[in-house]
């Protein structure tokens, strides 16, 4: 037997419990059914027959109030994903550090980039936008305020879209950053689309990069919302800065050969 644990190949990845390909997952959920044998059978059937998991085991079940039962289960996932194929659709922005971004802007644009950011509408969470824009940044990486070639304006939280736009025109922003908490129910989606629509109504969409960020925001969602990019958890200020810098550079001088990479 080999002394080294077997490593997964990236074309068929499954959950891992304590040995490769065991597919172990833990689940917890409530069923709107009275506690009892029927509820247990329902939970098992749901996991086994509908969720694509095998060997479900209920390790905990508890009545919450008449009509509701809570379960904790373990089960095995038989499916696998191909990581190589997933990578094909990710964005083409080249990763850059703070220094690299500044050098790139100096060389390619030769002028400071003006960005303005806010958490818009009724969203009271400003942590996201603060960590990207404020001097302090987070996790030891500076926010855009610290960049030599960026002029960052942070309007804070609960900023009406119209106020953000008025200020963006005022400072002649190149890019608007908004952070937003998007929940499963689509909370705050309307705030994001409204900003895009306002920019369109003002006839300024081509002059502004629109970037959104938040826990559930992906590039796919950003495209639907009408933004130029979407950033989620795990994004650092330099990621956002790299995108803005490279995108502005690409827009200022569209490459002659449309198929060639711009960097």
């Amino acid at each position: 037997m080999s002394s080294v644990a077997q490593r997964a190949s990236l074309d068929a990845v499954r959950p891992y419990g304590d040995h490769l390909d065991d597919g172990l997952v833990q689940l917890s959920f409530t069923l709107p059914v009275d506690h009892g044998p029927l509820a247990r059978e329902a939970a098992l059937a749901l996991v086994r027959d509908k969720m694509g998991l095998i060997k479900p085991e209920i390790v905990h079940a508890k009545p919450l109030t008449p009509g509701y039962t809570y379960f904790v289960l373990f089960a095995q996932c038989q499916h696998a994903v191909d990581c190589d194929r997933l990578a094909a659709v990710r964005t083409a922005t080249r990763a850059m550090s703070e220094e690299e971004v500044d050098a790139f802007v100096a060389e390619r644009l030769g002028r400071p980039i003006v960005v303005i950011g806010a958490s818009t509408g009724t969203d009271t969470h400003s942590v996201g936008i603060d960590s990207i824009l404020n001097l302090k940044g987070f996790d030891g990486r500076h926010g855009l305020e610290a960049y030599h070639w960026f002029r960052a304006h942070n309007l804070g939280s609960q900023v009406p879209n119209t106020a953000l736009l008025a200020k963006a025109f005022d400072v002649e922003a190149d890019a608007i950053l908004v952070s937003q908490t998007v929940t499963q129910q689509g909370l705050h989606l309307h705030n994001l689309t409204e900003l895009v629509e306002l920019v369109e109504a003002e006839g300024k969409r081509r002059d502004l990069l629109l970037v959104c960020g938040g826990p559930r925001i992906t590039d796919e969602l950003a495209k639907e919302l009408g933004f130029d990019a979407g950033f989620s958890k795990g994004t650092y200020p330099n990621d956002v800065a790299a995108f803005i810098a490279q995108e502005l550079a690409a827009r200022e001088r569209p490459p002659v050969d449309a198929a060639a990479p711009e960097l």
């Binding site: 194929r85 119209t162 895009v196 306002l198 109504a201 003002e202 006839g203």
Partner: protein
């Protein structure tokens, strides 16, 4: 009436949803199926994304694929085209950049499914629409996204199909009211007085038009941010003929106008309905307070589609929903495309 008949007068058709999951993609599918049967050459672009397998927020919600006929033109991105199963050729690459890659206009060489994802900015969408027309599309469909209305601008489209659905509200009365309000907003009437319309169209900035032909320009800040500054400009003036906003006309400004005018009728003019932003209020409420909305360019509402199902939540009776909406919108074809004309699988 079938949806193909409803859109017949418009060469460029915009599809707009009132929210996510109101059945816009199903409506698009129904239109495509009917146009295919008529043998039309079709062009399709989307200001969002269409034909994806699952919802971008809730991946438990499966989305219908978009079946396109052979020779159809579709705006998509280089990266999405790479993973599409249909046989296609690139008719024209473009410089339009999106979060999902660079936009290309592709032609289908066989019947198949492709994720539709055109340019993000409305102006760029206009370019793509014109390009598709040049490349031979007899009819171009501009699909919207979530609740965005920009695609319905008269600059891009000759008419709009609006999709409403159960997802708007679990309360049927509320759903009907919201749909009526949205339809009323979308179909704001054009300014009747030709002279006034000409004067408004000439303005380069937002302004108050006075009876004597003079125009008092308004700063952008007053229109968007410091809206209360309009009150002293309006108070006590009997000679204001209209408020004209070039750009976005938003509710807070209308509220201040009503406050300043104290019930005296005031005409507020925007370029078109996609530039008017009402929050809580409806056109009817503003009218009741004396503010009448009008536009320079009206948008023909070609049809309204109804979707009785709110995914993973609730559903209404399909016939009742369609009936209720139809009663509120006389003269507009109201269709449930799934019930009326099942989309071929």
């Amino acid at each position: 009436m079938r949806i193909g008949d409803a859109i017949a007068p418009a060469a460029r058709v915009a599809l707009v949803g009132l929210a996510k999951n109101t059945g816009k993609t199903v409506a698009l599918g129904a239109i495509l199926a009917e146009l295919e049967a008529r043998g039309e050459t079709i062009g399709v672009t989307s200001i969002g994304r269409d034909g994806e397998a699952t919802d971008a927020i809730d991946d438990a919600i499966a989305k219908p694929p978009i079946h396109l006929p052979p020779m159809a033109l579709v705006a998509t991105t280089d990266r999405l085209l790479e993973r599409s199963a249909a046989r296609t050729e690139v008719a024209l690459p473009t410089d339009h950049r999106t979060p999902l890659g660079r936009v290309v206009i592709a032609r289908l060489l066989e019947r198949g499914t492709v994720e539709v994802a055109g340019p993000v900015a409305a102006q760029d969408v206009g370019d793509v629409v014109e390009t598709m027309r040049r490349l031979g599309a007899e009819r171009v469909l501009v699909d919207g996204s979530i609740d965005r209305r920009a695609g319905a601008s008269p600059r891009l489209a000759d008419g709009v199909v609006m999709s409403t659905g159960a997802v708007l509200s679990a309360d049927l009365d509320q759903l009907v009211r919201r749909t009526r309000a949205a339809a009323e907003l979308m179909t704001l009437p054009a300014v009747e007085d030709a002279a006034l319309r000409a004067r408004a169209a000439e303005l380069r900035t937002s302004a108050l038009l006075l009876e004597d032909g003079e125009a008092v320009p308004l700063e952008t800040a007053i229109v968007h941010d410091r809206v209360e500054a309009i009150v002293p400009l309006l108070r006590g003036r009997a000679d204001v003929q209209a408020l004209v906003v070039r750009g976005a006309l938003c509710e807070p400004l209308l509220e201040q106008v009503a406050r300043a005018r104290r019930g005296r009728a005031t005409l507020a003019i925007a370029d078109d309905a996609t530039r008017v932003f009402l929050g809580r209020g409806t056109c009817a409420r503003h009218r009741a307070r004396g503010v009448v909305l009008a536009v320079l360019h009206a948008i023909p509402l070609l049809a309204v589609t109804t979707n009785p199902v709110a995914p993973l939540r609730h559903r209404f009776d399909a016939a009742e929903l369609r009936e209720r909406i139809a009663r509120e919108l006389p003269g507009v074809p109201v269709l449930d495309v799934l019930a009326d004309a099942p989309v071929p699988a």
